[in-house]
C-alpha cells in the first residue's frame, strides 16, 4: 500500500505522522475546551448539578449588566494606556541603550530583571509601596517632606493607573530586548549614507530608524495588546481583598470571569464572558495581522 504512493504522497503521510501528536494534543487541550466553553455559554451550570439550556439568557444578562460595561471599559483602558506608554518607554530605552557601550550588558540585565520576576511577588511588593503611612513607601516619602497623602489603591481614579504601572514595568524588559534586536537588524549602510548626506539625528530617526522598525513595532503592539487585554495577576494580587475594587475601578474582564466562575459558580455566565473576551482578542489580532501583512 505505502509502496504504491508517490514521493509527494509519502511526504504527506510522514508529515501527518509527525504532526499527529501535536494535533491530538491541541485538539484535546485547546479546541475541545474552547468548543465546550462556547456550548456552556448557552447553558446554566453551577458545577454541581445538571447543565440546563438557557438559550441567549447569559448574553442578555451580560448586555444588561452595568458591571460588565464598566469592566469592558476598564479592559480597554488597560490596553489604551498600557500599550502606548510601554511602547514609547521601551523604544526610548532601547534607542539610548543601543548607543551606550559603558556597562551595556549590566544595564540591559537590570531592565530585563522585572520580566523574569514572578508577577505575584511583584504585585504584592507594589501593593505595599502604595499603602498609606505608616507602611507605604511612597506615602512615607511624601509625609517626610510634608506633602499630604495620596490614596493610590483606595481611589476610583488613581487605582487603575496605579495597578497598571507595575504591569508596564514588568513587560518593559522584554520589549527593550526586542527593540534592540530590531535596531541592530537595520543595515548600517543606510546610516552611513545619511551621514554622507549630512542629515540631522531627527531625520535619521524618522526617515530611517522608525520606518525600518515597523515589523518590530507591529509585533510589540500585538504582543503587548494581547497581554493588557488579558491582564489579571497584577490586578488580582494588588486588590485580593476587594478584587477589582474599589467600586470595580480596576476590574478587568478576566477577573470578572474568574469571579463569576469560581466564587459565584455561575459557569454559564462566566463562559459567555469568556466568549466575548475571545471575540475581542480575535478581532484585535486579526486587525493587527492585517497590518503586518500589508508590509
Amino acid at each position: 500500500m505505502y509502496r504504491n504512493l508517490t514521493i509527494r504522497q509519502k511526504q504527506i503521510v510522514w508529515a501527518w505522522a509527525f504532526l499527529a501528536l501535536p494535533v491530538l494534543f491541541y485538539g484535546v487541550i485547546r479546541f475541545y475546551p474552547t468548543g465546550n466553553a462556547i456550548l456552556i455559554s448557552f447553558q446554566n451550570w453551577n458545577l454541581l448539578g445538571d447543565r440546563t439550556w438557557a438559550g441567549l439568557e447569559n448574553y442578555q444578562k451580560l448586555w444588561n449588566d452595568p458591571v460588565f460595561w464598566k469592566v469592558f471599559a476598564n479592559t480597554f483602558l488597560y490596553l489604551l494606556i498600557g500599550t502606548p506608554i510601554s511602547l514609547i518607554l521601551s523604544f526610548v530605552i532601547a534607542y539610548h541603550l543601543d548607543k551606550l557601550r559603558f556597562m551595556h550588558g549590566f544595564l540591559r540585565m537590570l531592565y530585563f530583571l522585572p520580566f523574569m520576576t514572578s508577577a505575584v511577588a511583584m504585585a504584592w511588593v507594589w501593593r505595599w509601596f502604595y499603602q498609606g503611612v505608616p507602611i507605604g513607601l511612597f506615602n512615607n516619602l511624601l509625609a517626610s517632606v510634608g506633602i499630604s497623602q495620596i490614596e493610590f489603591l483606595n481611589s476610583t481614579t488613581n487605582a487603575l493607573p496605579a495597578v497598571l504601572a507595575p504591569a508596564v514595568w514588568a513587560g518593559l524588559g522584554f520589549q527593550v530586548i526586542i527593540f534592540m534586536a530590531g535596531l541592530r537588524a537595520i543595515p548600517t549602510s543606510y546610516y552611513e549614507a545619511a551621514k554622507i548626506d549630512g542629515v540631522g539625528w531627527w531625520t535619521v530617526l524618522t526617515q530611517i530608524t522608525l520606518p525600518l522598525l515597523r515589523p518590530t513595532i507591529v509585533f510589540i503592539v500585538v504582543f503587548s495588546s494581547i497581554g493588557f487585554l488579558r491582564i489579571f495577576d497584577h490586578v488580582f494580587n494588588m486588590t485580593t481583598n476587594n478584587p477589582g475594587g474599589p467600586l470595580n475601578a480596576t476590574k478587568p474582564l478576566v477577573l470578572m470571569i474568574y469571579d463569576t466562575a469560581f466564587n459565584g459558580f455561575d459557569m454559564g455566565y462566566a463562559a459567555a464572558q469568556t466568549v466575548v473576551l475571545f471575540t475581542i482578542l480575535l478581532i484585535v489580532s486579526l486587525i493587527q495581522l492585517r497590518l503586518l501583512r500589508s508590509d
Binding site: L48, Q131, V133, L247, N263, G264
Partner: protein, 419 residues
C-alpha cells in the same frame, strides 16, 4: 494443557472471591475535607479513635486545597468515586442537596427533635422538614480582640462592654502624626474582613432591625435601623475624629498583628495565627452590646454529610462515623486541636470552656448568634464593601447607599432562589 489452563483460571477466580470476601468483612469508607493543617490533624485523631471503637470499619481521609474542593467533589460523586462522608460549608447545602450529592441523615439515629434540643440553634439551618441533611462538629463566632499592651499604655482598664464605650476606647487608642495621618488605629475596619458579618448580624440587629426576613430570602436592612447601623459603622472612619481607616496597613488582621491596632473584630479561627505572633499580648472580649444591653453575633460553620454514593454497608458505616464526629468527645477534641467551638451547648457551655479566657467570649457569643444563609457569600460581601465605598469615595449618603446595596442583594437572592 487446556485443563491446566482451566484449573488456573478457576484457582484465580476463587482466590479473587476470597479477597473480595475479606474486603467485605472490613468496610472501608472515604472522608473528604479541604486542607487546613489543624483540621487534618484533628480528623486524624478522630478517625483513630473511631477505628479503635469500630475495628471492622476503616476510614480513609483525603484532603485538597480549598480552591479545588468543590470541583473535585462535584466531579467525583456522580461518577461513583469520592467520599462517603463529605465536609462542606453550611452555605453550600442548597447546592449539594439540589445536585443530589448528599442524602438526609436517617431519622432514627439523628432524630430532628433531639438535635434541635442538643445543638446550638443556628444548626437548624441544616434541617428540612423532619430530617437533618448535615451536622457540624464545630462552629465559629465573632469576638473583639484587643491589644493588652496598647490598653495599658493608654491607661484603659479593660475591653469596652458597650458600643459607646467602644468608640471612646478606640478614640483613646488612636495615634496620629503631626500632619494628622493615622499611625495607629483604635479599632480596625474593613467590610472585606469580618466586618460585613458584624454589620449584618451584629449592628443591624442591635440597632433594632432584622437584616433579612422570609428565611433569608428577603433583604430587610434598608430600614432606619440599618441606616443607623451603617452610620455608626462609617462614623468610625468618616467622622470628625476618625478612630480607624479603611485599608490601614493593608489588612485589618495585619494591623492588629503588628501591634498598630488597639482592637480588632474577628472570628475564632484567628486565634491560632495570633497565638504564634511573637511580642503580641492580646485578650478577647464579647462583641460590645448596646446601651440597653442588646447583644448579637454571627456564627458560621462547616458541616459533614453522608453522600449519595454511600449505599448498603458503607451507608451504615458512614452513619456510624457521622454519629461519632458529632459526639461530645469529638467536639472537645476539635476545640483542643483546631480551636473551633463545639456545636453543642453541652460541650461548649461546660464550666471550663465557657469561662476559658480565650474561647469563653466566643462560646458565650454563640448563644445569641445568628447564621446568615448566603446565596453567594463573596458577592454578598462585595455589595457591602461597595456600599461603604460609595459613601467614602463618592460622598453618597448612608440612606442612598444602603438602598442600592439592598436592591442589588435582593436581585441576587431572587435569582438564586428562582430555580
Amino acid at each position: 494443557m487446556k485443563t491446566h489452563l482451566k484449573g488456573f483460571a478457576l484457582a484465580g477466580l476463587t482466590s479473587a472471591a476470597a479477597l473480595f470476601a475479606n474486603a467485605a468483612s472490613a468496610v472501608e469508607i472515604e472522608y473528604w475535607q479541604y486542607f487546613f493543617d489543624a483540621r487534618v490533624e484533628a480528623m486524624e485523631q478522630l478517625i483513630e479513635n473511631f477505628e479503635a471503637a469500630n475495628p471492622d470499619i476503616t476510614v480513609t481521609m483525603t484532603h485538597f486545597p480549598y480552591a479545588d474542593y468543590r470541583t473535585k467533589v462535584a466531579a467525583a460523586i456522580p461518577a461513583g468515586e469520592g467520599p462517603d462522608v463529605v465536609q462542606l460549608f453550611y452555605g453550600w447545602l442548597n447546592d449539594y442537596v439540589e445536585a443530589e450529592l448528599i442524602q438526609p441523615l436517617p431519622a432514627d439515629t439523628f432524630p430532628a427533635a433531639k438535635i434541635d434540643e442538643e445543638f446550638f440553634p443556628m444548626v437548624q439551618a441544616m434541617k428540612d422538614g423532619d430530617a437533618y441533611w448535615a451536622l457540624p462538629t464545630a462552629v465559629r463566632s465573632l469576638a473583639l480582640f484587643y491589644n493588652e499592651r496598647l490598653f495599658e499604655e493608654a491607661g484603659i482598664d479593660g475591653p469596652p462592654a458597650t458600643l459607646d464605650e467602644l468608640m471612646e476606647t478606640a478614640a483613646a487608642l488612636t495615634k496620629t502624626d503631626s500632619a494628622g495621618n493615622i499611625t495607629q488605629v483604635g479599632i480596625t475596619a474593613g467590610m472585606t474582613a469580618q466586618d460585613h458579618h458584624w454589620f449584618r448580624e451584629g449592628l443591624v440587629r442591635q440597632f433594632g432591625g432584622e437584616p433579612y426576613t422570609d428565611d433569608y430570602q428577603t433583604v430587610n436592612y434598608n430600614t432606619e435601623a440599618g441606616i443607623a447601623a451603617l452610620e455608626f459603622y462609617t462614623n468610625m472612619f468618616m467622622g470628625e475624629n476618625p478612630v480607624t481607616a479603611i485599608g490601614f496597613m493593608d489588612e485589618p488582621q495585619a494591623a492588629f498583628k503588628a501591634g498598630r491596632a488597639g482592637m480588632h473584630i474577628d472570628g475564632s479561627f484567628r486565634i491560632g495565627s495570633l497565638d504564634n505572633t511573637r511580642g503580641l499580648k492580646w485578650g478577647v472580649a464579647e462583641l460590645p452590646a448596646t446601651a440597653d444591653g442588646v447583644q448579637s453575633n454571627y456564627s458560621s460553620y462547616w458541616v459533614n454529610a453522608v453522600t449519595t454514593k454511600a449505599e448498603g454497608e458503607k451507608y451504615d458505616a458512614a452513619v456510624k462515623f457521622m454519629e461519632y464526629i458529632t459526639s461530645d468527645e469529638a467536639m472537645q477534641i476539635w476545640l483542643d486541636v483546631v480551636g473551633e467551638l463545639p456545636a453543642k451547648p453541652s460541650v461548649g457551655m461546660t464550666e471550663a470552656n465557657a469561662n476559658d479566657e480565650i474561647f469563653g467570649p466566643f462560646i458565650r457569643g454563640l448563644s445569641y448568634a445568628n447564621t446568615t444563609k448566603f446565596a453567594n457569600e463573596s458577592a454578598q460581601r462585595q455589595l457591602l464593601v461597595e456600599m461603604v465605598e460609595r459613601m467614602q469615595l463618592e460622598g453618597m449618603s448612608a440612606a442612598d447607599s444602603i438602598a442600592i446595596a439592598a436592591q442589588a442583594e435582593q436581585a441576587l437572592l431572587d435569582e438564586y432562589y428562582a430555580d
